[in-house]
Amino acid sequence: MRDIVFGQYVQQKSIIHLMDPRAKLIFLVAYIVLIFCTFNFYALAVPVILAVVMMLLSKVSIGKYLKSLKMIIVVVIITAIFNLFYGGGQVFLKIGPISITEGGINNSIVIVLRILCLLIASETLTFTTTPTDLTDGIERLLKPLKLLHIKVHEIAMMMTIALRFVPTLLEETDKIMLAQKARGADMDSGGIVKRAKALVPIFIPLFVSAIRRAMDLAMAMECRCYHGGEGRTRMKTLRFSRVDVFGFILFSFVTAGIILLDIFLPHIVR
């Protein structure tokens, strides 16, 4: 479980690692919009190529990408199968009421490619950006929301603290589980009700401990003069660099390319 949550960031020295987290976040959002705006294979090829390029540029081993792919492969396959039966055009196979058509095949290929692109892009972001940089980037991007009285700083601080304490609490959960097992707690057998009941001896101590830690932390933060976001400076100042500018230019071309391909070539997807 710990690996799923925290094995994400991969230390490397790549161009993508060097990019500003804000730029990466903006690109990710734009990229997601773009992949859903591709209506033929030519247009779709552009983000697919971009995904491969990103994977290579990030200098993160392909194995890592494949590993994370494994977790959602079932979802991908099920989506692909459902889409097979959905769509018009030439009928290839007919079993009773359902039929596999040319449109269906096209649809499922497009859907699979889109999901893969989406996955690779977001993986690239988390592989190349530390969680703290990510929180920082989100905080700064969302700053305008302050005007709407949304407590951006507080939310970001909560995320920072959560990132800090999740591993600690996971470790604690392990320890408590072992301790209750040593007292003969049986967590691996029985029906749902019995299993749910078996969680009580784990959750109560965990909850108590989390509260205790929160109180301690609040005290420690106060000792270090924490008083909210007002008048607070930051050690790390985010600055857009040449890499980011280059990224913006490249991305503009990609967007233009996709739009042109969409306009001038026939649509094969709805």
């Binding site: 530390t130 205790r212 400076t233």
Partner: protein, 281 residues
């Protein structure tokens, strides 16, 4: 020079539902902490020593009496952040004091709150990391460090606020012997080389031996105080209040009681060997 002065301090916790805690935690206590000294406050659990610690930087405010830090009254709310950045407080559990998931960002937390300019924060963080010998770990995640290392990061986080004094509330209680040594040598270094006033609150008497002055607390009052030599010479008094003395001191005290001619009681093993060699030769 007088740096912190505690005058007629008394404190009790609020009554909590049915359980009325009538007994005061601190009773009419007077204490001075001098600029640049290494003061150790010794006492068993419930002696009021941690409550006293939280008065030094205004985390708790007196019910009666006054606490002055560098001339500032801790009860003055306007001075709250000045006081907390002048007297840094390090707590017992190293895990629960670290805020960020990267070491250097955690250390930057204090100066960031104080509104220090970015470039200067960077400088302070690096100096603080070097002061606690953790510079090589600046990019690590705190949860992967040992207890002693985490506690040193917590100390660095306080140092980065550039306080004149650090108060440590049982910083070694949850550490293994190696971690304890790391922390104690770090704070000794901060005191000796950086001239930072140190108030160490502990129940380990072997840590108290290294201090300039020891204050023994019991039941919310000062039981005795003086140099480690003077304090640990009172073996019977300490023992009757369930406090330990170093084994080196205890053996010589026992022999002295038996009539063996021992003038000064030793505090560490080497002086104990010297004293006993004198006797046994």
């Amino acid at each position: 020079m007088n740096f912190i002065s505690v005058e007629n301090l008394s404190f009790k916790y609020d009554s909590d539902g049915e359980k009325l805690i009538e007994t005061s935690v601190i009773k009419n206590l007077n204490l001075r902490v001098n600029q640049g000294e290494f003061l150790c406050i010794l006492g068993h659990n419930g002696s009021g020593k941690s409550t006293l610690a939280k008065h030094f930087n205004g985390m708790l405010l007196p019910c009666g009496g006054k606490v002055y830090v560098d001339g500032m009254d801790t009860a003055d709310e306007k001075l709250c952040f000045d006081i907390r950045s002048t007297v840094g407080l390090v707590l017992q559990n190293p895990d629960n004091q670290l805020v960020a998931s990267v070491v250097e960002e955690d250390i930057a937390f204090g100066p960031e709150n104080l509104g220090v300019p970015s470039a200067e924060i960077r400088e302070r963080v690096e100096n603080a990391l070097k002061a606690v010998d953790m510079y090589d770990y600046r990019n690590h995640a705190p949860h992967k460090l040992s207890g002693g290392q985490k506690q040193r990061i917590a100390i660095a986080g306080i140092i980065a606020m550039e306080p004149k004094c650090i108060v440590l509330d049982e910083p070694t209680a949850m550490l293994d012997p190696r971690g304890r040594n790391e922390v104690i040598s770090t704070i000794t270094k901060l005191n000796r080389e950086y001239g930072i006033t140190v108030v160490l609150i502990t129940h380990y008497m072997d840590e108290a031996v290294k201090a300039d002055r020891v204050v023994v607390m019991d039941n919310g009052e000062i039981l005795t105080q003086g140099t480690p030599q003077q304090v640990f010479a009172q073996v019977d008094l300490l023992k009757s209040h369930c406090l330990d003395v170093p084994q080196a001191t205890e053996i010589c005290h026992k022999l002295k009681k038996l009539g063996v001619d021992i003038k000064t009681l030793p505090l560490d093993e080497n002086s104990c060997v010297d004293v006993l060699m004198e006797v046994l030769r």
